[in-house]
Every structure is written in structure tokens, then in C-alpha cells.
């Protein structure tokens, strides 16, 4: 059923959706062969706002389910490029839950669907790049001077997707623009259960160094770290099928001028409001006691807690490794110099030469250690850091669900109270007040219904999001681990080369 894509107005529909999803999970093990597009008869949902989207079921249940999972399956091959095969699904998704999106997009979706459908059929075995987008962040340049200076980054988007105006766009953005994008996306999607990738963290110390103009190694490293983090952030954001279609995202990637996101500054009015909200949220979390009817959520919540703990631990260990490897590199370099000096003062010629050779070998090894530390960091450590932050986002989505539930319950309680007071008023025989009470009750009944629907919706969305997240996580980790091991292999191969070159020199000492 295409139903799982749309916000189900009814409770039971939701349940069936869950079951479908679970089946889908099993199907997903092998590459998709039953990749078919549902007939393009569902543009209407896209143009309808919020809840009352008609459910259309195209094609057999299985195919649609596999559809849902296919986008992720295609991910298996892609590293940077995202291959999604069901673009026309997206408007259904995006427009449904977020009323903010104007209904304009659906029409543009109609045409691509046809083409992509064709392409998809042809390329299904290649997990084809029917839907690719590649974002690069590069060329950090300091703009301005003094404390008002900032780093500008070039954002290049290469894509064949038609939601974008051009195949290749280049814009310049600054860090606060990224933060602004994130805050907009968070305000739109977080409360309905979408896992919005967190933006890279602010760093006052790092930026101040750059602003002051310190042209040293640590500030260059800081800029590189930030650049890489921004690139990863954007790629993660566009990999999300819903977020990709968001006009804010598209505007961010395409428009040459962007209104300055002042509200991201820490000390602005909005910033302080954010802090207050965060505190309030923390308090609320403690007071809300939700009776969890769904064991799945309980289990997942626990799982994420455990994962969080372990990832943080691992991150700390990897950071320590990076630090020690850098130290090793420095110490090896200084030893190399010392060995060279020793070789110089040694008066036995062959030994002197051998010692100089040793010094050279150690110098090369020190550079090797440095490269390895670099790889440790950028491959392994940063990935872990990203995921620690992502899991925080996941946890906050779970919290949103709790909030939605709590709101629903509160409205229910309020309704009950109103009903009681209405009953009292009936006996008191005050017709105008009675009417008012009746109106209020009607309104509240509507709200309760809405609250329940919201809760169901967010639960369903979260389930989908979590499954998508898990798939992404598996893919990411697998890819990174393999890359990292390959870097280790390279290091060892180089080591062998260096020592093999040295050995005859050592043997030659007469």
C-alpha cells in the first residue's frame, strides 16, 4: 500500500503499515529486482495539505513495500552519490506532514517521474544513478577583518535531479548559513518525527584564532576539520528523501544570496530563547511519564542509549589514539635527527652511513605515522563524532513523540473537565453558558482527535526514520571501517618497503 507514505487518518491503517514495513525489511536483503514504479496516478496527495490525503494503493503490496526500502537499498552501492528510485514518493511524504511546503513542487515532480521511471527500469540492476547528487564544500576563504571576519566556503552541487534548476551550481556560504539551514529544518521537521542531521558545532576558540589571523598549523587544521564536517552535514541532509525536497535546502544550495541567519548567533534574542526552551524541555522530559504501549519504542530507546554510550567511549579511545600517533610521529622525527647527528660523529665509515640511513628511514616513518594519524582522525574519529551527535538527534525525536503524547493526554484531560463542567451547567440551567460549553467541547473533541492522529503519525514516522537511520548507519560504518583498514594496510606496506631498503645497509657494516 502506498499508505505508509501518507499520514493515515485512521488508527488501524497505521498498524497495517507497520506490519508492511516489517515485511519489507526481510525483502530487502538482496538487491531489488522487482523495482517498479506505481502508476503515476497519485499526484493528488502531493497537492493536498495535511491530513486528508486519499490513500491510493498502486500495485501489489509487496512491490510498494520494497519500494520503500529500495531507496535505501540503492544506498548500498553509493558512497557519495545518492540513488533514490522513487522520487514521486517524496512529494507525498514531504507535503503531507509539513504544511509549510507550497503545493508547487508536485507539478514539477510529474515530469521527472516519467523519465526516471524509464531510467530506473533500465538501470535497476546497476542500482542506477537515477537520482544522484554530489555536494562538495571547498575553498575556505577568510572574508573581512578583525572580529567581524568570517570564513566563506564554496558549496558546489552537482546533480542530475530536476528539482534543481541547474546541473551544477556553485554558491558561497558561511558557517552561520549552515546553522540557519539546520535550525529551519529542525523547526519544521523535528516535532513530527524526522531525524534532522545535526549541524557541526560552533567553536569559539577555533574561530577566534582564524579571525585573529593566526596562520598556523592548528588554525589550518581547524578550518579543514570544519570544511569536512560541513560537507558531511550537507550530504547527510540531502540523503534524507524528505529533507532533500525542502525548499529551504534547495534555496541553500542554489540561490546566490541568502538572508543572513542572525538568529543562530549564540547571544541573539533567538539564541537565548533557544537556551530557555532547551531548559524547559529538559524539565518536561523528567516530568512526563509516558505509559508506553508499544514495546518497539521501549526497545529502540534502550538500544540507542546503549549505542550512545559505547560510541562515546569508542570516540574517546580513537581520539586518544590520534593524539598518541601524532606524538609518536613527532618523537620519531626528533629521534631521526638525533640518529643523524650520531651518524655524523661516528668515525667508522660504514657504521656512520648505516646510522644516517637509519635516520632517513625513521624520518620517512614519522611522516607515515602522521598520515596514519590523519586517516585515524578523518575516517574514524569524525565518523564517530558525527554519529554521537546524530544519536542525540534521534533521542530528541523520541522526546518529541513523548511531548506529542503528553499534549494529546492533556487535551483529553481538558475535554473531560469541560464535559464535567457542561454536565454541571446543564443542571444549573444557564443556556448561553451551556452553549458556550458545548462549543468548547466540540472544539476540544476535534483537538483530541487531532492529538491522537498526530501521535500516531509521529510514531509511524519515527519507525520509518529509525529504520532508515539504521540502514544508513550500517552502510556508513561498513564503508568507513573498510576504508580505515585499507589505510592501515597501506601503512604496513610502506613500512615493509622502508625496512627492506634499510636491511642491506645494516648488513653492509663491516
Amino acid at each position: 500500500m502506498a499508505a505508509e507514505m501518507e499520514p493515515p487518518p485512521l488508527g488501524n491503517a497505521g498498524e497495517t503499515d507497520f506490519r508492511e514495513l516489517e515485511d519489507g525489511e526481510d525483502l530487502f536483503v538482496s538487491t531489488v529486482t522487482t523495482l517498479e514504479y506505481p502508476e503515476p496516478s497519485s499526484p493528488e496527495p502531493a497537492s493536498l495539505p495535511a491530513e486528508d490525503i486519499s490513500i491510493n494503493s498502486n500495485g501489489p503490496k509487496q512491490k510498494d513495500v520494497s519500494f520503500d526500502d529500495d531507496p535505501e537499498d540503492l544506498f548500498a552501492e553509493a558512497t557519495e552519490e545518492v540513488s533514490l528510485d522513487s522520487p514521486e514518493r517524496e512529494p507525498i511524504l514531504s507535503d503531507g506532514p509539513s504544511p509549510a511546503i507550497t503545493p508547487v513542487t508536485p507539478t514539477t515532480m510529474l515530469t521527472p517521474r516519467m523519465d526516471l521511471g524509464a531510467r530506473c527500469r533500465i538501470e535497476e540492476d546497476n542500482n542506477g544513478d537515477t537520482f544522484d547528487i554530489h555536494i562538495a564544500v571547498s575553498d575556505p576563504e577568510k572574508v573581512g577583518d578583525g572580529m567581524n571576519a568570517y570564513m566563506g566556503y564554496k558549496v558546489t552541487t552537482k546533480t542530475s535531479m530536476t528539482i534543481f534548476n541547474k546541473n551544477e551550481t556553485t554558491v558561497r556560504r558561511r558557517f552561520s548559513d549552515f546553522l540557519g539551514l539546520h535550525s529551519k529544518l529542525a523547526s519544521k521537521y523535528l516535532h513530527i518525527g524526522y531525524i534532522v542531521p545535526p549541524a557541526p558545532e560552533k567553536s569559539i576558540v577555533g574561530m577566534t584564532k582564524v579571525k585573529v589571523g593566526k596562520e598556523d598549523l592548528s588554525s589550518a587544521e581547524f578550518v579543514e576539520k570544519r570544511r569536512s564536517a560541513l560537507e558531511r552535514y550537507l550530504m547527510r541532509t540531502v540523503k534524507h528523501p524528505v529533507l532533500l525536497k525542502d525548499p529551504d535546502v534547495i534555496m541553500f544550495l542554489e540561490s546566490s544570496e541568502l538572508p543572513r541567519a542572525v538568529s543562530t548567533q549564540a547571544l541573539s534574542g533567538a539564541g537565548i530563547l533557544r537556551m530557555v526552551n532547551k531548559a524547559a524541555d529538559a524539565v518536561n522530559k523528567m516530568t512526563i511519564k509516558m505509559n508506553e504501549s508499544d514495546a518497539w519504542f521501549e526497545e529502540k530507546h534502550q538500544q540507542f542509549e546503549n549505542l550512545d554510550l559505547q560510541l562515546r567511549k569508542l570516540h574517546a579511545s580513537v581520539e586518544s589514539l590520534v593524539c598518541h600517533r601524532k606524538e609518536l610521529s613527532v618523537n620519531t622525527a626528533s629521534f631521526a635527527k638525533s640518529a643523524a647527528m650520531l651518524g655524523n660523529s661516528e668515525d667508522h665509515t660504514a657504521l656512520s652511513r648505516a646510522l644516517s640511513q637509519l635516520a632517513e628511514v625513521e624520518e620517512k616513518i614519522d611522516r607515515l605515522h602522521q598520515d596514519q594519524a590523519y586517516a585515524d582522525f578523518y575516517l574514524f574519529s569524525e565518523l564517530l563524532g558525527d554519529y554521537v551527535r546524530l544519536i542525540t538527534a534521534v533521542k530528541s525525536v523520541f522526546d518529541q513523540r513523548m511531548k506529542t503524547w503528553s499534549k494529546w493526554q492533556d487535551t483529553q484531560l481538558l475535554l473531560q473537565k469541560k464535559r464535567e463542567s457542561e454536565a454541571k451547567l446543564q443542571f444549573a440551567n444557564k443556556p448561553d453558558k451551556l452553549q458556550q460549553a458545548k462549543d468548547e467541547i466540540k472544539e476540544l473533541e476535534g483537538k483530541v482527535e487531532q492529538g491522537e492522529k498526530d501521535f500516531e503519525l509521529i510514531s509511524k514516522t519515527i519507525r520509518k526514520e529509525v529504520s532508515r537511520f539504521e540502514k544508513e548507519r550500517v552502510k556508513d560504518f561498513k564503508a568507513v571501517i573498510i576504508k580505515y583498514l585499507e589505510s592501515l594496510v597501506q601503512t604496513q606496506q610502506q613500512l615493509i618497503k622502508y625496512w627492506e631498503a634499510f636491511l642491506p645497509e645494516a648488513k653492509a657494516i663491516a
Binding site: 548500498a76 586518544s320 618523537n331 660523529s345 668515525d347 561498513k478 604496513q492
Partner: protein
């Protein structure tokens, strides 16, 4: 040889490890004649667990023969001292038996060394440097910290770390045994020193030598003596030597000594970083294992496999650090001490030269005044003889020193390179096989 470790710590339980140790003959190179000593154990079997290796610090290249063989056959580590069992095999008539053993402590080695230094007769020889004091403080501290932190880590982590520290302790222990043994072997190999009476007493007298460590007053005396000596050394060094050979040696040794010191310190630091990195990999492996067991998705296999891989590579990395320590750091440390001993020899010769020149001047003065001429003459003769005797033996000693040094460096550098290659290849193989499995899985 049995090695009994028994460091009784205050809180931690006493360590008792019985291991067979590779015999000390390992670290003497085989002179062609005495093949019986070396059983081709260069890459020999590790009697000990995978982690440990026999003391193979070949820092000296000695020609030993059957007339006098000395080794340390056993060692016992107690709370604050180490007891070495010195075993001698000899065909020399001076000894009552052909084979015997005594138990000695570190202070007695120092006593022997000092007796050589103070003996005027040996002024013309490079006195083999005294072995460094056995120092288990760092290791003990770590063991204690581990004991305190037992609650904060999992059972497996705790056992792993305990094994690590025990292995480290064992390694330090073996090193100190090796150092003491090298000292004795050098003395035994030296044509003159081996005949020393104190040495024979040291080897044979099976009672306690009652050598107490220096008390405070004596230590202060030593300190002042050293100050005076170094001041004098500067003066003496300033005297230009007529002999080119010695002049060259003087400048060479001074520079060499300083550079060896520097290289030794830097190599120590490098090896320590290496060990820290290996420890980190250990922790990463543990966390990956936990992640793997917790994870319900596909990636758990990855985590478990990589955790296993890192466990193995970490062991190899630790071995690399240990080997670098043995072959490089120890070599440099030893030659730091030997070059100091050679410098001391040159100082003694320089002193004798100054004395000789002073005696000459005194003689001239006496002849001029025609007073106490005979006395001045005899004293001048004595100085002359002393100086010439020292010069002659010193020359040979310094040449021998160079030969020994070159041979030792050669052996160690070759072995270092070979071991590094072996470990890198092992590492590579592990990594590649794991990659193969992981790539096949996806």
C-alpha cells in the same frame, strides 16, 4: 634458568611467574672456536609466552673461552631487592672447584665495579660500566593503580591489563638480569681484569660479602669527589695532547657521548609513544567488541571481526615497541655508559700526563737549584712509567672499544630491521585477511 618473580606489593597480590628463560649465552656472539656456547638461538624459540622474549640485548661482542665462563643462572625478585645467582664454570687453578654458584645482590656488583675504578693498576683500562640499579618503581606503581581501579572496568579488561603489566614487569626484570650478566662477562673476558682478586672473591665466596650500600656521608663524599673530578677533567682536557690518536679520540668521544645520550633519550620517548598507541588500540578493540555484541544490525559482524583484528595487531604493535626497546634503546643506553667509561680512561691518562709534565718541571727546577734532585728524578720516573703504561693499554682498549661498538651496532641494527620487517609483514597479513572477509561480507 628459572625466573621467579615475586614483587610483593602492598595491596596487589604477589606475582609469581615461573618461566624458563633463554640462557644468557644467547647474547654472546659466537666466536668461531667456542661454538658450543651458542646453539644458534638467534631467532630461537620463545621459551616464554608470546609476549615475552629472552634478554637478547647484544651489546657486546665478546671472545670468551672455556677457562672462565660466568653467567646468571637464576634470579629472584623480592620486595625491594633482586637476588642474582651467579654461576661460574672454570678450569683455572685459582678456584677450589670447577663449577660453583653464589647469590649476589646489586650492591655487590657496584662494590666490585668501584674496586676496579679505585685500583690504580687498572687506570689504563676501560672499566666495564656498572649495571644500572634494578628499577621496578614505575611498574609497581602501575600495578598498584590497576589494583585500585579494579572496580571501574570489566572483568576482561582487568585481566587483560593485569597480564600486560605482568609482562612489562617481566621484561624489565629480564633486562636487569641481562645488564648484570653483561657486566660480569665483560670482566671475565678482559685479559687483566679477569685475574682480579676481588672478582674471584665475588665469584666464589659463598657468604655474604657484607657490602653495605653507601651511607649518607659516603654518598656526600662521592658527590664532592665527582665535582672535583669533573672540574679537574675540564682542566685536563684542556691540555693538548701530543699524540694525534689520543687527541682525536678525545674530541670524538666527547661528541659521541653527548650524541648517544641524546639519541638514547629520544628513542626512549619514541618507544613510549608507540606503547601508548598500542594501549589505545587495546581499548578500541574492547569497545568494538561490546558494540558488536550489543548491535542487532548487520554491522555487528564487522565490529566483532575488527575487534578481533585489533586485538591481534595490538599485540604485534606492542612487540614492535618491545623489540625497538631491546635492539635500539638498550644498545644506545649501553654505549652511553661505555663511552663514559672510555672518557674516564682518557681522563685518567690526561691526569697522568699532567702529573708527568709537572714532575718534569719539578725535576728541572730541582736540577737548577741542585736540591733534592734524586727525589725529583725518581718521582719523574714513576710518573713517566705510569703515563706510558696507561697510554699503551689505553690505545689498545680504545681500538677494542671501537671494534666492539661497530660489531654490536651492526648486529642490533640488522636484527632490528629484520624484526620490524617480520612484524610489519605479520600485521599486513592480518589486515589483508580481515579486509578480505569483510569485503566479502558486504
Amino acid at each position: 634458568m628459572n625466573l621467579i618473580l615475586n614483587p610483593t606489593l602492598d595491596e596487589a597480590p604477589p606475582l609469581r611467574t615461573h618461566r624458563g628463560i633463554v640462557t644468557s649465552h644467547d647474547f654472546l656472539t659466537t666466536p668461531p672456536a667456542a661454538a658450543m656456547m651458542q646453539e644458534g638461538l638467534d631467532d630461537g624459540p620463545d621459551f616464554l609466552s608470546e609476549e615475552d622474549r629472552g634478554p637478547r640485548a647484544v651489546n657486546v661482542d665478546l671472545q670468551t673461552d672455556a677457562t672462565l665462563q660466568v653467567d646468571i643462572s637464576d634470579a629472584l625478585s623480592e620486595r625491594d631487592k633482586v637476588k642474582f645467582t651467579v654461576h661460574t664454570k672454570s678450569t683455572l687453578p685459582n678456584f677450589k672447584q670447577n663449577e660453583f654458584s653464589v647469590v649476589r645482590q646489586h650492591e655487590e656488583f657496584i662494590w666490585l665495579h668501584d674496586s676496579f675504578v679505585e685500583n690504580e693498576e687498572y687506570a689504563g683500562y676501560i672499566i666495564p660500566p656498572a649495571p644500572p640499579r634494578p628499577d621496578f618503581d614505575a611498574s609497581r606503581e602501575k600495578l598498584q593503580k590497576l589494583g585500585e581501579g579494579e572496580g571501574s572496568m570489566t572483568k576482561e579488561e582487568f585481566t587483560k591489563m593485569k597480564q600486560e603489566l605482568e609482562a612489562e614487569y617481566l621484561a624489565i626484570f629480564k633486562k636487569t638480569v641481562a645488564m648484570h650478566e653483561v657486566f660480569l662477562c665483560r670482566v671475565a673476558a678482559h685479559p687483566v681484569l679477569r685475574k682480579d682478586l676481588n672478582f674471584h672473591v665475588f665469584l666464589e665466596y659463598n657468604q655474604d660479602l657484607s657490602v653495605r650500600g653507601k651511607n649518607k656521608r659516603e654518598k656526600m663524599e662521592d658527590f664532592f669527589k665527582n665535582v672535583v673530578k669533573s672540574a679537574d677533567g675540564v682542566l685536563v682536557a684542556g691540555v693538548k695532547d701530543v699524540d694525534d690518536f689520543f687527541e682525536h679520540e678525545k674530541t670524538f668521544l666527547l661528541e659521541y657521548h653527548n650524541r648517544v645520550k641524546d639519541a638514547s633519550a629520544k628513542s626512549d620517548r619514541m618507544i613510549r609513544s608507540h606503547k601508548s598507541a598500542a594501549d589505545d588500540i587495546n581499548r578500541i578493540a574492547s569497545t568494538l567488541y561490546t558494540l558488536g555484541t550489543q548491535d542487532s544490525t548487520d554491522v555487528c559482524k564487522f565490529f566483532l571481526k575488527v575487534s578481533e583484528l585489533f586485538e591481534k595487531t595490538r599485540k604485534i604493535e606492542a612487540r614492535v615497541a618491545a623489540d625497538e626497546d631491546l635492539k635500539l634503546a638498550d644498545l644506545l643506553k649501553y654505549y652511553l655508559r661505555e663511552s663514559q667509561a672510555a672518557k674516564d680512561l682518557l681522563y685518567r691518562r690526561g691526569r697522568a700526563l699532567v702529573d708527568y709534565e709537572n714532575a718534569n718541571k719539578a725535576l728541572d727546577k730541582a736540577r737548577a737549584k741542585n736540591k733534592d734532585v734524586l727525589q725529583a728524578e725518581t718521582s719523574q720516573q714513576v710518573c713517566c712509567q705510569k703515563f706510558e703504561k696507561i697510554s699503551e693499554s689505553a690505545k689498545q682498549e680504545l681500538i677494542d672499544f671501537k671494534t666492539r661498538r661497530v660489531a654490536a651496532f651492526r648486529k642490533n641494527l640488522v636484527e632490528l630491521a629484520e624484526l620490524e620487517l617480520k612484524h610489519a609483514k605479520g600485521n599486513l597479513q592480518l589486515l589483508q585477511s580481515c579486509l578480505g572477509v569483510l569485503k566479502g561480507d558486504t
